[in-house]
């Protein structure tokens, strides 16, 4: 790969880290769709600031877009506060309206300048290396590299500086307010960061990728850990890995880099979703299966205990009996339950008959007394 490609990769990785860091808080605060809303809604802010400055590299664009983003959040909340619309409907109206305004402004008045609708959606990562940062007459690297590096640093330091406040406001807004932390200030501060990140990344990678990079890594990280600090690090790492993977995919297919990186995020999330140790789909299904078996084995122990020493013990302890109408297990399930209970040494087997071991008798007794206690507690509570 040439130097330019390395630069593109570096910009992509920095953008993904910057997005993932704020994304964690959006996901935890159940505001993930705000990344979609903000990244669409900042368009008219960018366009108007561009008309005013005639310079796509002006820092005013970032400020104007960030202000538009915060205003969007304010507008959605104000609409929801009138109680004429639910929050989701308010969001579904405000951001398409602002985005439409931006698109119309571009197509009507900015037709063939650098700003066009495709670059809005897709970004221009492939061209990023041509846009150089010149300091004191020296070429110090691509401008996007500095911009995304700066935003990643800004997000990391803002989160580090206000870590305790953000954590408390995210997990217990009521307590945060009663401690005088002003959740509203924290909320809008966070929205400001999201907007600045969105508009900076937007120029490099387009708005689709902004949404994918903010939500995907954070969502995946939330399946892997319960600790906020770990989640932030994981999200940044997963974001970087999927951005890099997507970049390689785009390079191999000679296709849209932003699209491929979004797909990279999707693949990364799918893997985590399937295989995460405790919260992944496979782990969840396995756990449910095991719980079902364990419950059935306890039931088997209780069944055997009920009939132990009675006249019908001989009949009731036959394996075939469990498959009959009395218990109603399928032969396959019965075999698995019996194996499970044998494995735990709750029961023993002689021929077609099962008998309880001491451990199995204890297990049945414990389960029954647990049931009894719960029943008594329910009675006590007047249920």
């Amino acid at each position: 790969m040439s130097g330019a490609l390395w630069e593109i990769l570096a910009i992509a990785v920095l953008a993904s880290v910057a997005c993932a860091l704020v994304g964690v808080f959006l996901v935890l605060r159940r505001l993930a769709m705000l990344s979609d809303a903000i990244s669409h809604a900042i368009l008219p802010g960018i366009v108007l600031a561009y008309f005013a400055t005639k310079d796509l590299n002006s820092p005013w664009l970032v400020l104007a877009a960030a202000a538009t983003g915060v205003l969007t959040v304010g507008a959605v909340e104000a609409l929801a506060r009138t109680r004429r619309l639910k929050e989701d409907a308010a969001m579904g109206i405000v951001f398409p309206a602002l985005f439409s305004l931006g698109v119309v402004l571009i197509t009507r008045f900015a037709g063939h300048v650098h700003l066009d609708v495709d670059s809005v959606l897709l970004g221009e990562l492939a061209f990023a290396p041509f846009d150089r940062m010149i300091l004191g007459g020296h070429d110090v690297g691509a401008r996007g590299l500095w911009l995304m590096g700066g935003v990643a640093l800004l997000n990391a330091s803002a989160i580090a500086a206000f870590y305790k406040e953000l954590k408390l406001a995210t997990f217990d807004a009521g307590l945060a307010a009663s401690l005088g932390l002003a959740p509203a200030v924290i909320h809008y501060g966070l929205m400001g960061l999201v907007s600045v990140t969105a508009v900076s990344a937007f120029d490099a990678v387009g708005l689709v990728l902004v949404v994918a990079l903010m939500i995907g890594p954070a969502a995946a990280a939330s399946l892997l850990t319960d600790r906020l600090a770990v989640m932030l690090l994981l999200a940044a790492g997963l974001g970087a890995v999927s951005a890099a993977g997507g970049f390689v995919l785009a390079w191999a297919l000679d296709a849209s880099i932003a699209g491929a990186m979004a797909v990279g995020v999707g693949v990364m999330f799918a893997l985590v979703f399937l295989a995460a140790p405790r919260r992944g789909l496979l782990a969840t299904l396995l756990r449910r299966r095991r719980q079902r078996l364990e419950f059935a084995a306890v039931m088997l122990a209780i069944h055997l205990a009920q009939h132990e020493g009675t006249a019908d013990e001989d009949e009731e302890s036959r394996v075939e009996h469990l498959q009959g109408s009395h218990v109603g297990w399928t032969p396959r399930f019965t075999a698995r339950v019996v194996d499970f209970a044998l494995d735990r040494e709750w029961i023993g087997r002689d021929g077609g008959r099962l008998h309880l071991t001491e451990a199995g008798r204890n297990e049945a007794g414990r389960a029954l007394s647990g049931l009894g206690r719960r029943f008594a507690a329910d009675l006590g509570a007047g249920i």
């Binding site: 993930a32 639910k86 109206i93 439409s100 903010m214 995907g216 939330s222 296709a255 999707g266």
Partner: protein, 376 residues
């Protein structure tokens, strides 16, 4: 008037207008349910997610057959909706995160495929990218027929399961208790929504179609509390906006259809929020002012009556406004007295003090008796 004449004679304009009105009507009607069930953002996810389906359908069939593209879009949108449900049901991930993730990843996949197709498929693919922001001008008779058939299917489905969908939207728990297949109805309604979205994609574009789902219903909601009227009104708003947006964008150069329709819808929604008769913000404001005035009048009347009734002849017991002001927190006393005078309940004496007229004494007594009754 020339526009109207052209509407009748011009084939393209007629096709475009009919198509846009039809898509607006169907999207509006289904959107009413989406908004009621707080699924506004599901529409956003489904419409973005349709893009890879459209491109893949083109790759598979090698042509831009309307029906094939629509089927591709519907399958992709449907898969997206199911994936969202799967992720939410099986993990701790919340609905907003699942929606955003599925939306952006599917859309990214669509852009990836589009960029590959544009590089390799030659001229046949031209116009696929108009699915991003919509191109009403490209509608032809074939598209219109596809839209009409699908729209009719959606509306028929809605009518057929009207009672069930109504129950599902307002009280799914009760629907389940009645033995209705809630999960199946949920999937059916979502499927109809997906089809309604897909109908509009060519005209409005995948990026903005969600607004055509949400906005007509949000606007219509301000005018009525009844589901039947809500659905009809949302359909009418959608049709009107589709028509206006398509006509404006067809007659003005370089004005994409999707954004124009969305901006029309936004104005309609804002107007409804402000000016609707009962729920409108303006009506609420007027109501509040009126109420405040009535409270001011009543409380001044009550105070004046309490003072006057201490005297032998309540109509000849003038009191200074400052006394009344001291009895309440002061605000609105002067205004309240003037309003009383206007109604002939109180009169200002030459020395600036106020006394009740006989009618005012009666009104005061009634007011306090009423309070006492209400208190008891």
């Amino acid at each position: 008037m020339t526009l109207l004449a052209e509407l009748v004679t011009d084939y393209t304009l007629r096709t475009v207008s009919l198509g846009s009105a039809a898509l607006g009507a169907v999207a509006g009607m289904l959107g009413a349910f989406a908004v009621l069930r707080r699924q506004s953002l599901l529409g956003d996810a489904v419409s973005h997610a349709a893009l890879p389906g459209i491109v893949l359908a083109f790759v598979v069939t090698g042509a831009k057959t309307p029906l094939a593209l629509v089927v591709g879009a519907a399958l992709a949108g449907w898969a997206a909706a199911l994936l969202v449900m799967l992720v939410v049901r099986t993990t701790r991930i919340k609905i907003d995160t699942a929606l955003g993730l599925v939306l952006s990843v599917f859309f990214g996949l669509g852009l990836l495929l589009l960029s590959v197709v544009q590089r390799h498929a030659g001229a046949a693919q031209a116009g696929l990218d108009s699915f991003l922001f919509g191109q009403a001008a490209a509608l032809v008779g074939d598209d219109l027929r596809t839209m009409a058939v699908l729209g009719a299917v959606v509306v028929a489905g809605l009518l057929l399961l009207w009672k069930e969908f109504k129950l599902l939207s307002f009280d799914p728990g009760f629907a389940g208790a009645l033995g209705l297949p809630v999960r199946g109805l949920d999937v059916a309604l979502t499927t109809l929504l997906v089809v309604a979205i897909v109908i509009g994609l060519q005209t409005v574009g995948v990026v903005l179609m969600s607004a055509v789902i949400v906005a007509p219903a949000a606007a219509a909601r301000q005018w009525t509390d009844r589901l039947g009227r809500l659905v009809l009104l949302a359909g009418a708003f959608g049709a009107a906006s589709g028509l206006i947006g398509a006509l404006v964008s067809s007659s003005v150069e370089r004005l994409p259809t999707g954004p124009t329709i969305v901006l029309t819808l936004t104005l309609l929604t804002l107007a409804s929020l402000l000016f609707a008769p009962r729920r409108g913000l303006l009506a609420a404001r007027v109501r509040r002012l009126r109420q405040r005035r009535r409270v001011a009048v009543d409380s001044v009347l009550a105070d004046l009556y309490r003072l006057a009734s201490q005297h032998d002849d309540p109509t000849r017991a003038p009191h200074a406004p400052d006394v009344l002001r001291a009895m309440r927190d002061g605000a609105g006393t002067g205004r309240g007295l003037e309003l009383l005078a206007e109604r002939g309940l109180a009169a200002r004496e030459a020395d600036g003090r106020w006394s009740l007229t006989p009618a005012g004494v009666d009104a005061g007594r009634r007011l306090l008796d009423g309070d006492a009754e209400a208190g008891a």
